[in-house]
């Protein structure tokens, strides 16, 4: 067991992979197998080609695999040909959109936002496709994965969820709504994938704890505003996309250790 999970990414793959398998078996709007194959295949291939291109000494496809699983769970397109484009955009963004040795965007989030902007009539995200029973299991597994995977950097998931909860529960209190409403809003599978597998990306978040806290707070506030003020359904993804641009500034202000994946 320990050796399998010695690299935290293995646990991430296990969690996302199980969720995907579960959805494929149980959900009417799960991705078709050809979509899964296209996303995973193209992601791994792009990862391989990009690693060769930039001359990495060791070819490691694991993070590309994680990205493709996130895309399988969230990214929807009306035409099949968009999926490989999304995978290429996601993975290559890691290699080519960089600032000071870090990539700027979480790759899956980048592909979702790029898809929504470039093909507004062909791409969408279905955030409501998870039952609440799945949610709890996924919440626990996701939390475990994020704690093990990004070590102390996993705090950003927690920061974000706390800020997000504060905002939606605060809104409910202000409106006089019963707590069942924010609780229901919180029970979203898309929110968990976002919190545990996107915003937590150790390569795109600030190096210091204070930086990460500010990052999470800004993302939550922006997403909340877009969602409730402007009725943007994909608010979380746009918010993360926008706030990621600020990471270099946050790193300059608040210094912290640079993240490296532990080697297996």
């Amino acid at each position: 067991m320990m050796s399998v999970f010695s690299d935290p990414r293995h646990l991430q793959i296990a969690v996302l992979g199980s969720l995907l398998c579960f959805l494929i078996v149980q959900n009417d709007f799960a991705p078709d197998l050809e979509v899964v194959a296209l996303l995973i295949g193209t992601s791994l291939l792009t990862q391989y080609v990009c690693m060769k291109y930039v001359g990495m000494p060791v070819i490691d496809l694991r993070s590309g695999f994680i990205t493709s699983l996130s895309l399988c769970l969230l990214f929807k397109a009306a035409s099949l040909w968009i999926y490989p484009l999304a995978a290429i955009a996601a993975i290559s963004s890691k290699f080519f959109i960089r600032y000071e040795n870090k990539h700027l965007f979480n790759p899956a989030n980048f592909a979702i936002v790029a898809g929504l902007i470039v093909f507004p009539d062909l791409v969408w995200v279905s955030p409501g496709q998870w039952g609440s029973d799945v949610w709890l299991g996924f919440a626990l597994a996701g939390a475990a994965a994020v704690v093990l995977a990004s070590a102390r950097r996993g705090d950003i998931s927690l920061f974000f969820l706390v800020f997000w909860a504060a905002l939606i529960f605060g809104r409910a209190l202000w409106l006089g709504d019963p707590l069942s409403i924010p609780l229901h809003q919180f029970q979203s599978g898309a929110l968990l994938i976002f919190a545990f597998f996107m915003i937590s990306d150790p390569k795109t978040t600030p190096d210091s704890r204070v930086g990460r806290m500010i990052f999470a707070l800004m993302t939550a506030i922006l997403a909340f505003t877009l969602s409730f003020g402007f009725q943007v359904r994909e608010a979380l993804f746009y918010a993360l996309f926008a706030i990621c641009v600020l990471t270099p500034f946050l790193d300059r202000i608040f210094k912290g250790p640079v993240y490296k994946w532990r080697l297996t």
Binding site: W124, S126, G128, L175, D177, Q231
Partner: protein, 466 residues
């Protein structure tokens, strides 16, 4: 005391004390889904038209609806719709029964016939009141007018207390818990569309029933307020939401969508009780999802023409229901060329004109616990077609004599058993009863081959020798 019926999509303010007939499925009983509301929502960009069908059977003087709307609505934004158009859309998009007749197994072929299963749903709205101390209570009457047989007020309020008090003063009985829901809508800057029947106009109109109301508005909010409707419901309620969009399927972003089981072969006797079947099946499916899911019953790209509905809703009716992007006369740049449906035989009836519209039909059975929040909707770009469709296969009953025929007859009991199990699974009905009914309904498990024992020359010349 006047009762307030707040329409479903919107809100039910009182317990529906009157006989609502729900939705009729084929020859189903009138009480099928008898607390259902039927709403049509047409939307593209931010232009929205919501139409609430009305099957109210009680005293019209007691009828009233209160609907939270995101923006104020002027007289010209309200229209009386034709119930025929809504019933047509309802019947067109309803889950349906399809019959196939096995051909002589010695010469396999296929023929198909359709039976649409119209499912009428229903909805209701609630009315409203006068003027008086509105100002003192912090209630502003933004608009006040009469359209068709309805007196309509658009209210905005500063405080839920004031609004509630004012509505009470005007004789409307609101259910417990309404105050906090009203408060929430007021804080979200929603207005209230309140309608009651103008008896004079109603008598003048000559109609014996209340016609549906359409409300047009332009706002980024794409949602269906259901919270008021859950307040006084005694049990789960049904909502049939039909949407017309340009891009594709509509789905809630805050609830799970589940496709209703479809394409299943079921026993022949269901033909006479399709309504009961559908009702039982829907209940079974809703229960399995803990009443937490929105069921997709129909999703169809109208540009493809529906081969299964011989009587599609004409473009001008879709336009009347709010599909403003559809060209007035048909024709024009927005009109796509029809594409054939893969795997479906072309229809013989005159091909319906293709329209650039996508119809989604969702069916929700909800309670206040399982659906605490309003339906927050989005239009996806998914144009995949789907319909709830159940298949009856009539076995060949003519004579047949060949090797294939004996194989065919041998296979029938197994096929019947499969259908029985499917039906039991879908509906939760007792399989013993199902088998019994099948036996007397043309599907006996001990079916015997019908041997054509006429001499072969009579068989080959049977059509000529009359």
């Amino acid at each position: 005391m006047r009762f307030l019926f707040v329409f479903a999509a919107v809100l039910f303010l009182t317990a529906p004390a009157h006989a609502f007939c729900g939705f009729y499925v084929a020859k189903a009983d009138a009480d099928l889904f008898n607390e259902a509301s039927k709403v049509v929502l047409a939307r593209h960009e931010e232009r929205t038209v919501i139409t609430m069908a009305n099957d109210y059977k009680g005293d019209v003087s007691e009828f009233a609806i209160v609907i939270p709307v995101p923006t104020t609505v002027k007289k010209s934004q309200v229209n009386i719709a034709s119930s025929k158009v809504i019933d047509h859309l309802d019947a067109y998009s309803a889950p349906r029964l399809v019959e196939y007749y096995d051909e002589n197994p010695c010469k396999m072929a296929a023929r198909e016939r359709f039976m649409a299963a119209p499912m009428a749903a229903m909805s209701d709205a609630v009315g409203v009141p006068g003027q008086a101390s509105a100002e003192a209570l912090g209630v502003t009457i933004e608009e006040s007018y009469t359209v068709g047989e309805y007196d309509i007020l658009i209210l905005s309020a500063e405080q839920s207390d004031g609004l509630l008090k004012w509505l009470n003063q005007e004789g409307y009985k609101l259910p417990k818990g309404a105050k906090s829901v009203l408060k929430s809508y007021i804080k979200q800057d929603m207005k209230f569309f309140v309608a009651k029947v103008n008896l004079k106009e109603f008598d003048k109109s000559g109609y014996t029933y209340l016609r549906p109301i359409s409300v047009a508005y332009e706002h980024e909010k794409f949602m269906l307020p259901i919270r008021l409707g859950t307040l006084n419901a005694k049990g789960p309620q049904d909502l049939i939401l039909m949407t017309i969009t340009k891009n594709g399927r509509v789905e809630p972003v805050n609830y799970r969508t589940v496709k209703i089981p479809t394409g299943e072969d079921i026993p022949l006797f269901v033909k006479d009780e399709f309504g009961e079947f559908y009702k039982a099946m829907f209940e079974q499916q809703a229960k399995e999802e803990d009443y937490e899911a929105v069921f997709l019953e129909y999703a169809w790209d109208m540009a493809w023409c529906d081969p299964c509905a011989a009587d599609p809703v004409p473009p001008e009716d879709l336009r009347r229901l709010g599909a403003w992007w559809i060209e007035d006369q048909g024709g024009g740049p927005d009109r796509p060329t029809p594409r054939p449906m893969p795997g479906v035989a072309p229809m013989i009836a005159p091909a319906p004109a293709p329209v650039n519209a996508f119809i989604t039909r969702m069916h929700v059975r909800y309670t206040g616990e399982s659906f605490p929040e309003d339906l927050i909707l989005q239009t996806t770009d998914d144009r995949e077609n789907f319909q709830g469709r159940y298949v009856l296969r009539h076995p060949w009953t003519g004579g047949a004599e060949c090797y294939a025929a004996s194989e065919y007859y041998k296979s029938l009991p197994e096929r019947f058993e499969r259908e029985a199990k499917t039906l039991a699974n879908l509906t939760g009905w007792d399989i013993g009863d199902i088998r019994k009914k099948m036996g007397s309904g043309g599907q006996p498990f001990d079916i015997k081959p019908v041997i054509d024992d006429r001499p072969w020359w009579e068989q080959i010349w049977q059509d000529d020798q009359q």
